[in-house]
Symmetry: C2
Subunit: 364 residues, 2 copies
Amino acid sequence: MSALVQTTLNVELGDRSYPITIGERLLARRELLEGTTPARDVLVVSNTTVMPLYGEALKAALGGRRVVEVVLPDGEVHKTLATVSRILDVLVANRFGRDACLFALGGGVVGDIAGFAAATYQRGIDFVQVPTTLLAQVDSSVGGKTGVNHPGGKNLIGAFHQPRAVIADTATLRTLPSRELRAGLAEVIKCGLIGDAPFFQWLEDSIDRLVACEPEALAQAIRRCCELKAAIVGRDEREQGERALLNLGHTFGHAIEAATAYSSWLHGEAVGAGLAMAATMSQHAGFMDEREVARVEALLRRAGLPVVAADVRRDDAIAAMRIDKKAKAGRIRFVLMRGIGRAFLTADYPEDALAATLASRFAA
Amino acid sequence: MSALVQTTLNVELGDRSYPITIGERLLARRELLEGTTPARDVLVVSNTTVMPLYGEALKAALGGRRVVEVVLPDGEVHKTLATVSRILDVLVANRFGRDACLFALGGGVVGDIAGFAAATYQRGIDFVQVPTTLLAQVDSSVGGKTGVNHPGGKNLIGAFHQPRAVIADTATLRTLPSRELRAGLAEVIKCGLIGDAPFFQWLEDSIDRLVACEPEALAQAIRRCCELKAAIVGRDEREQGERALLNLGHTFGHAIEAATAYSSWLHGEAVGAGLAMAATMSQHAGFMDEREVARVEALLRRAGLPVVAADVRRDDAIAAMRIDKKAKAGRIRFVLMRGIGRAFLTADYPEDALAATLASRFAA
């Protein structure tokens, strides 16, 4: 294993700009963690899986402050307003003020819940993302989207609230179950498909090393994804335009998750299938050729990701999509592709293209 | 009664700027209401008191759109996360998209709850404030503070989310119970005390007309308060500095409300007593002379407002203040006065000044 260089990127948002630091064993770097916040009162939010692995390291790095912790049950089913309310209760019970800081230690679910609690406690307190899954390191910890699910749909309740810093310690990925690592690769592949064909090609060359959890390959992939996302968020923080491209694969993916009650599919797995579906729909709409769709599907398969949703009925999928946030005045908008690396948002597509995609990728 | 001129002020916040329109019978002005939002899906949030009085007028003015309504029980005790959740359920059940708009028709409680629901539904949708109480017209509908109470303290959960427009129809004040009108006058008096000694003097001359609900006097008072608040919010939207002055009287006031479980005091009544307490504390701290404190107390009494909290024990008050948002690193910050119209924020005061204030204005 070669020595990994620590790198720092910035998300440029004026007085809300913040650094993303990516590297090996960052949780052991006390001065790095200490520098993220001057807060004397800190709440560490994590879950029953991650806290035993990395809680002590984080708390040690934050030594000298008052550190309170909330350990949530693990899993997307707990990403609810009730869980946020529980965190708020702890903040109130410990009389944390506006100058407190919350640390989200875990994957995307922990980050989304904890971020929303930080967004709404006393109309917004600081928080720091310490993502410990590949999905969180490449995607959900960056950009300030926070929130929880509603029985009627994913992420329907939330807020934009930027973290003060993101600390992505690649060493934490070595305790990640391989199913979760693969799920994270869906968001990595998504980045190439959105706007970086050379990166997609690099992924075709490197996918076996990524699946094998090779640190150097992972660090390169994480860095490239964070660069892409930081640039887009810097230009369009609140998803008025370009940022919507980051939802490539997500309209289908969210529908899969909602139709299965967030219980059997990991978010990244649903996004993986959603990418295959977006490619197929792009082909049916005449935007993308068959050969490129085959490349997308082949890469997803090599990453161990699903490309169909055989356990979801197409009627349930379409019902879930209609309540999805991206529905605009009744018409479902999709991010489609004019080719690998050329994603675009549109509500202008033949209904046949959607119907054919549903027919080929979902259950009848 | 003389004819009232309709006036419009702007809150200047770049691309989130919005107009405040003040005048008689604005709810009958269909083009005014229609112009506030292009949304085709509208949710009107009101309560069991206000909806029967003004719901039909508002819905008629919004004709031609899909209008859904949520009618909440009346009262501050319902300003909870559970009530917000109920509104979110209605938005989801009706499949409202990001382009929907919420109308808050009612007093400060309705506006705070509905605004927070708008802030958190799909990470923020548009909303319009239609305040029907004096307190809401002069204070809570302007400036984008939204949120709900927690058993541990007032407004501990919330977000900054600016409305698209504020429509203050002074005709609605004629159905307002006189107790609520007087409660609203506390926020009016607060405006003079913060930064406008001539306005305070005008209030001393005009208080009887205001208590008698004379429309022209009320419209003048509302306009002046909105001007002051719009200017402060335009300079300091997120309360990093100057905006904290608007909390004059509120640290004491919130403590009174919390200690009485938001059940027996109206918010404005608690603020009224809080203003008297802030004046007393300013005197004990050597900032304000006795004669000016007497003027403050006299005006509050003429407005029919309480100046002591005889039903709240001082220990309960201090406990409630410590969890209040304005506590900074353990030390309670207060807005005090160097005289009428010269408020300032400080954590630098003799403990004796606070103790003497608690001793004279609360129960032992």
